[in-house]
């Protein structure tokens, strides 16, 4: 292979006649062999290059998902000798399982109080970062700091900060004359605490995404608005926000897919609760329940049914988001 290249290069360096003549000199047999090889190279190389992704996705992504649907039709216990077919029994049991519905509600509740405030703060933060700050990169890195921290470590730290008796958050509240809050036992407050971890981690990151979109808005639009006498607030609501909409939807879509699978934060929130998600499952999410049912109670069929339902919920929501994006974003590739 190497020699071939040097030969070609050497020839290219000469003050040369057109290449095609060169090739004709080689002779018919040699030409067709090389020609065929090049044809094969052109034809199949692209498939070889993209193959790893598709093979891997099929093996560790698509197949397991489909097989999850299959398992969900059996009473499948880890290590049991036989797995009896039960049809949709896992699903009917699941739909009658109050703990599952509780987990579903918790998931959506945590998702809502982590996404909505986060978006609002991210947009406001982006406005601040979009001013002519001194040392811009430094500020941007500063707000991104939480994003790089290890999730497990931070969840443990936050679990400590939100401690009931000696937690710092409660100490600070008390300083302001507010009663101590039981961040773990109270359902609503536990959701707030967990959502705070999510917000703390992702707000800066999303602010940078929004900031990038803000900087992509053409300056002329603002100039035109200024000529028309629009105030700063008016410019923000009538120009900035509408032009940010595709980006905001993008942020929502990505946080939906991740947010509905939230697991680490509720698992590690309180050391003693573990996969229970609190004494009365007050902050147990769907993936956490799935983990508990499948890998702690060894009931893989039941856990699979749960995974499959959550999968469909996510696909439906992502689909709705996608349609919304298509309608709202008039242009753009993605």
């Amino acid at each position: 292979m190497t020699t071939e290249l040097t030969v070609t290069r050497g020839r290219g360096a000469e003050p040369r006649p057109p290449r095609r003549d060169d090739n004709d000199d080689i002779g018919p047999g040699k030409l067709s062999w090389r020609y065929r090889l090049t044809r094969l190279d052109v034809k199949f190389s692209p498939y070889v290059y993209i193959a790893p992704f598709f093979i891997l996705f099929a093996v560790v992504g698509l197949f397991p998902l489909l097989y999850t649907a299959y398992i969900s039709l059996f009473e499948w216990e880890l290590g049991a000798d036989e797995q009896p077919f039960v049809g949709i029994e896992n699903y009917t049991a699941l739909l009658a399982d109050s703990q599952f519905w509780n987990a579903m509600v918790n998931t959506f509740s945590i998702f809502a109080i982590s996404t909505i405030p986060q978006l609002i703060i991210a947009v406001l933060l982006a406005v601040l970062l979009n001013t002519a700050l001194r040392g811009r990169t430094g500020w941007r890195m500063g707000v991104l700091l939480p994003y790089v921290a290890s999730l497990v470590a931070l969840t443990i730290i936050f679990g400590d900060l939100f401690g009931v008796q000696y937690g710092t958050v409660n100490n600070i509240l008390e300083l302001f004359g507010v009663d101590r809050i039981d961040w773990q036992a109270d359902r609503w407050w536990s959701h707030v605490a967990i959502a705070t971890m999510v917000n703390w981690r992702w707000t800066g990151y999303n602010a940078l995404i929004v900031l990038a979109a803000m900087q992509a808005i053409p300056r002329d639009v603002y100039e035109a608005a200024w000529v028309d006498g629009a105030s700063k607030v008016r410019q923000f609501t009538s120009i900035t926000l509408p032009m940010l909409r595709p980006t905001l939807i993008f942020v929502v879509v990505t946080s939906t897919i991740g947010g509905l699978q939230i697991f680490t934060e509720p698992l590690l929130f309180s050391p003693s609760a573990g996969a229970n998600g609190g004494a009365t499952h007050q902050y147990q999410t769907v993936v956490l329940y799935m983990y508990q049912a499948g890998f702690q109670s060894q009931d893989l069929g039941y856990a699979s049914a749960m995974a499959w339902i959550l999968f469909m919920v996510i696909i439906v929501i992502a689909g709705i988001n996608f349609l919304l994006t298509r309608r709202l974003a008039s242009s753009g590739e993605a």
């Binding site: 560790v60 197949f63 002519a132 700050l133 500063g142 730290i157 400590d160 803000m214």
Partner: protein, 297 residues
């Protein structure tokens, strides 16, 4: 003063224009101390948990019952030593570096190859296949862990690092990211020229495409490394306490009925420091990567 007034022009578009639009857009105004104040408060809030972690780790556990001290104590190395006795810290660190490193190299190479094919090569089914790749971005493959676990157990891979590495060797995000970048960054003429000179496909990739995509590949590498470093659910299921990644080891440190906070937070501090160092060195690129990705995606 001269240097200060000069500065914004370096970042803004043109000096003349800037003066005219100064009052128009919030974007051009020199922010006052309120803006700086809010940003400083935000960043302090961002940094506080890190500080807190170190603070607790540097005292002994009893200190944090009634009045918590605000300055670090001298107990950190004692606590760090206890962490090393409790969990296989160095092994976990090595495992995490090995796993994330392998995954990163593989994702970057395979995604760049696939991105090159999607952006620059003509082949049947290119459009639909690319749509498929983008669609898989929305598929929560994490929900397929049950059969994946069964398969790993069946083939005796559970407990090995391979079980954590193999499912992550190439990602849809990586392929999409590299495709977007290569489509813009590598001129078609250059590829055609290489082909005319008799370069094979792979040689064209190596000599024309790779040099041009280094910045995007580096960013993809950073993101992949951090994502892999933080991966938790799957490693927790498939690895065991003797051969953990950093995240799994930390979880083991925390679980139990009596929790020694200074011990646990010494562990989290030790696990966070390497990542913080990476961030200080590469933060600029990470910021640029996120902002570029936002505009492209």
């Amino acid at each position: 003063m001269a240097t200060i007034t000069d500065r914004p022009t370096a970042t803004g578009p043109k000096p003349a224009r800037r003066r005219g639009s100064k009052r128009i857009s919030l974007a051009d105004r020199r922010p006052g101390f309120v803006v700086y104040g809010i940003l400083i408060a935000f960043i302090l809030g961002s940094a506080f948990p890190f500080y807190w972690s170190f603070l607790v780790a540097s005292h002994d556990d009893q200190k944090f019952t009634a009045d918590a001290p605000l300055l670090p104590g001298g107990n950190f190395f004692h606590n760090a030593g206890r962490v090393l006795d409790t969990i296989p810290f160095w092994k976990a660190l090595g495992n995490s570096i090995l796993v994330s490193g392998t995954v990163t190299v593989s994702v970057v190479v395979l995604s760049t190859l696939a991105g090159f094919a999607f952006a620059k090569l003509r082949f049947k089914g290119r459009g639909p296949l690319m749509v498929f790749v983008v669609a898989t971005l929305a598929v929560p493959t994490q929900l397929g862990i049950i059969p994946l676990y069964m398969a790993m157990a069946e083939y005796g891979w559970s407990g090995t690092l391979g079980a954590v590495i193999i499912p992550n060797l190439v990602t849809a995000f990586g392929v999409f990211w590299m495709r977007q970048y290569i489509a813009d960054a590598v001129p078609d003429e250059l590829i055609e020229a290489a082909r005319m000179d008799g370069c094979s496909m792979i040689r064209t990739f190596w000599h024309v495409c790779l040099p041009a995509v280094r910045p995007a590949a580096a960013m993809l590498g950073i993101f992949t490394f951090m994502m892999s470093w933080n991966d938790f659910l799957w490693p927790l299921i498939v690895l065991n306490a003797d051969n953990p990644t950093m995240q799994v080891a930390l979880e083991k440190l925390q679980s139990g009925y009596y929790v020694d906070n200074s011990l646990v937070l010494a562990g989290t501090t030790m696990a966070t420091v390497p990542i913080l160092i990476v961030f200080l060195v590469l933060g600029r690129q990470i910021v640029a990567g996120i902002m570029q990705g936002a505009v492209k995606g």
